[in-house]
């Protein structure tokens, strides 16, 4: 089952495309990180998949074919928007009541236990909570709906390092307990690897890279060798990023099969951060597994 599946998805806002020709399949059972520069379409993609935005072109479905935003989908998808907007004038306890009234499946005890553990006082007004408490409240409300898919838009953006750590720990505990799928967008690349096991890179409204993080790391190598041989190496491997320092060249290449480095060259692994940054630096790089590979894979999955 794919928790999010899009085909040719596009969204235009007053003449400019926020998302274009986005074809993507996110399999279930993962914590998926959605990264990309500002304006890449991350929020648009997430809003389309929870029904807040209506696609201009293409289709988006969730949890194995439910129309995004339909009542069947809303029942099983929980969403925390960027900055987690909640009515500031309501006390935390009233937010629990409100969520209970708007959701039949709301597990109040679950949320209360979580808020107690975080020492968030129930009588306090939402507007008086700290940034970390606010984010945690929004997450607790979303998780108490026991969703099959949790969608988080920039959940870490306004949190300090400690709050980030606590927030991610909360997410990972829920995943371990309930086996839900999580999709979250983030600017913070350095902390992704600890949490996410699946990566989607969006750039300029298109999917640039998507796959299991372990696979992506295994498929890329950093080759270091003499600069004059760099051109020859680029014929052997697709180069994501090339750097030259004096007589040495450093090439980040995609090697589909793990193979020994060419003679005179040294191979080393890449970190996730290096990999993501390399792709983000040059949005035109269409190296596999880029968007060109995805439609074929999607069709295959749909027909099987």
């Amino acid at each position: 089952m794919n928790v999010i599946e899009t085909s040719g998805l596009g969204k235009r806002y007053r003449g400019t495309w926020g998302l274009r020709d986005c074809t993507l399949s996110v399999p279930a059972g993962h914590i998926v990180a959605l990264v990309g520069p500002n304006g890449a379409g991350k929020t648009t993609l997430l809003h389309c998949s929870v029904g807040l935005a209506t696609p201009t072109t293409g289709h988006v479905s969730v949890l194995g074919g439910l129309a995004a935003g339909s009542l069947d989908a809303l029942e099983r998808v929980a969403f925390v928007a960027q900055d987690a907007p909640l009515p500031p004038y309501l006390p935390v306890a009233a937010m629990l009541d409100l969520s209970q009234d708007l959701n039949r499946r709301f597990d109040r005890r679950h949320a209360v236990d979580r808020l107690r553990a975080l020492a968030i006082p129930l009588p306090r007004k939402v507007g008086k909570l700290s940034g970390g408490q606010h984010a945690q409240l929004a997450l607790a409300l979303a998780l108490a709906r026991h969703p099959d898919l949790l969608v988080l838009d920039e959940p870490l953006a306004r949190l300090d390092p400690l709050a980030r750590h606590d927030f991610l720990a909360h997410v990972m505990t829920a995943v371990a307990e309930n086996g839900l799928s999580v999709v979250f967008s983030s600017h913070v690349i350095s902390e992704l690897e600890r949490v996410a096991d699946y990566l989607v890179v969006l750039s300029d409204g298109r999917v640039q890279m998507a796959g299991m993080i372990d696979d992506l790391l295994a498929q890329h190598q950093l080759l270091t060798g003499p600069a004059e041989q760099a051109a020859r190496i680029s014929e052997l491997f697709p180069v994501v990023q090339a750097r030259e320092a004096g007589r040495h060249a450093e090439l980040l290449v995609r090697a589909a099969e793990p193979a020994g480095p060419p003679s005179g060259w040294e191979a080393s692994g890449v970190t996730l951060e290096e990999l993501v940054l390399a792709y983000l630096r040059d949005p035109s790089v269409s190296v596999l597994p880029g968007p060109s590979a995805l439609p074929a894979r999607t069709r295959h999955e749909v027909t099987s």
């Binding site: 969403f79 928007a81 907007p85 500031p88 009541d97 409100l98 009234d101 708007l102």
Partner: protein
């Protein structure tokens, strides 16, 4: 999708609307506006009750001695007392006209605009209830509450106004009381609430929504006072030859009947004079006839002052067009139906805007 997860939530089944929990949710979110509204309404209700109690004994004396015939020597004095005690009554009528506009501005306008402006719609519209049902149930529940409250206030005002109406100091047909009955007051309130809701949805910001709602609801109310009510009440008015015992007025009247002037309890739309041939006289001719008549009556002295006798002696006829008392609630229903129809159009537009938003 695997069979296991599909079994837990069968797709395509019906999702019943949870009215009870939506009522709680609506109260939770709107109580900041509803509590002051209910307090103001309770204050207005108390004012109506206090006012009615204050005139009760005078009215009892009037009702026993002066209805149906205005004969008792003290009747004029009692009527004058009533005429002198309308200040509080008038203030209440004005307050009841402001109330629908206030409800539109403070309940209707922020209803959606606040969610759009603060971004909380991203929370409420992604809950299990779904955005259409969330908005529709919220608007419906608020409409029921404000309609019930203002219906009660309109009924109370009608009860308080009844003595003034009988004495002839005020008329339930008059623009003012006509727009604040148990039918029209809730209709105006629903109109203002729905106008505020749709303007809030269109602007997406609270302050512009409140301003445009005040202008729209207030403007429409003023237009009703100015001209709309008058046009409505002239529709299908009945012509009748009048006795002219209470005087002769020609042209647009728009006034309540009085002793010797029009059928009891009716609303007089227009008066005119017919010539010996039975045809209506022009305004200039009618003016000439009136001048001759009043001159003759002045010469004849006070005791012989009977306009009806003078008119018939000179083969003139005096006519009135009027709405009989029995049509009052019919016109009330028409006015209320127009306002409620507009409110429904606004509400459906709101739902349409919200469904296609995104």
């Amino acid at each position: 999708m695997t069979a296991l997860t599909a079994g837990a939530v069968p797709a395509g089944r019906r999702h019943p609307v949870p009215w009870r929990s939506m009522a709680r949710a609506t109260w939770r979110q709107q109580r900041a506006a509803l509590i002051p509204l209910l307090a103001v309404s309770a204050g207005l209700a108390l004012a109506a009750v206090a006012g009615e109690l204050a005139i009760r004994s005078d009215y009892a004396r009037y009702a026993s001695g002066c209805v149906p015939r205005f004969i008792h020597a003290s009747c004029g004095a009692i009527a004058n007392t009533f005429a002198a005690s309308t200040d509080g009554f008038t203030a209440l009528v004005i307050a009841l006209h402001v109330l629908p506009v206030l409800i539109g501005v403070f309940v209707g306008a922020p209803l959606i605009a606040r969610e759009l402006e603060s971004g909380t719609f991203r929370f409420t519209w992604t809950q299990e209830i779904g955005r259409t049902r969330y908005v529709l149930t919220t608007v419906t529940l608020l409409a029921v509450v404000v309609a019930a409250v203002t219906c009660a206030l309109g009924a109370l005002l009608g009860w308080y106004a009844h003595p003034f109406d009988v004495v002839g100091v005020e008329s339930r047909w008059q623009a003012g009381l006509f727009d604040a009955t148990a039918l029209t007051l809730p209709a105006w309130t629903l109109f203002a609430l729905a106008a505020g809701t749709v303007l809030g949805t269109l602007t997406g910001r609270i302050v512009p929504a409140m301003a445009t709602t005040a202008a729209t609801a207030g403007g429409f109310l003023v237009a009703a006072f100015w001209t709309l009510d008058r046009h409505l009440l002239s529709l299908g008015a009945l012509p009748a030859r009048a006795t002219a015992a209470g005087g002769v007025s020609v042209g647009s009247l728009n006034t309540n009947s009085g002793p010797g002037f029009g059928p009891a309890g009716s609303w007089l739309v227009r008066g005119w004079i017919t010539g010996p041939g039975g045809r209506e006289l022009s305004a200039a001719m009618a003016g000439t006839v009136q001048n001759r008549m009043y001159a003759a009556m002045t010469r004849a002295g006070k005791k012989a002052a009977d306009p009806a006798a003078w008119l018939s002696a000179h083969h003139y006829g005096y006519w009135l067009s009027y709405q009989p008392a029995g049509r009052f609630w019919y016109f009330q229903a028409v006015a209320a139906a127009v306002l409620v129809a507009l409110a429904i159009v606004f509400a459906l537009t709101t739902v349409w805007l919200i469904r296609r938003r995104g």
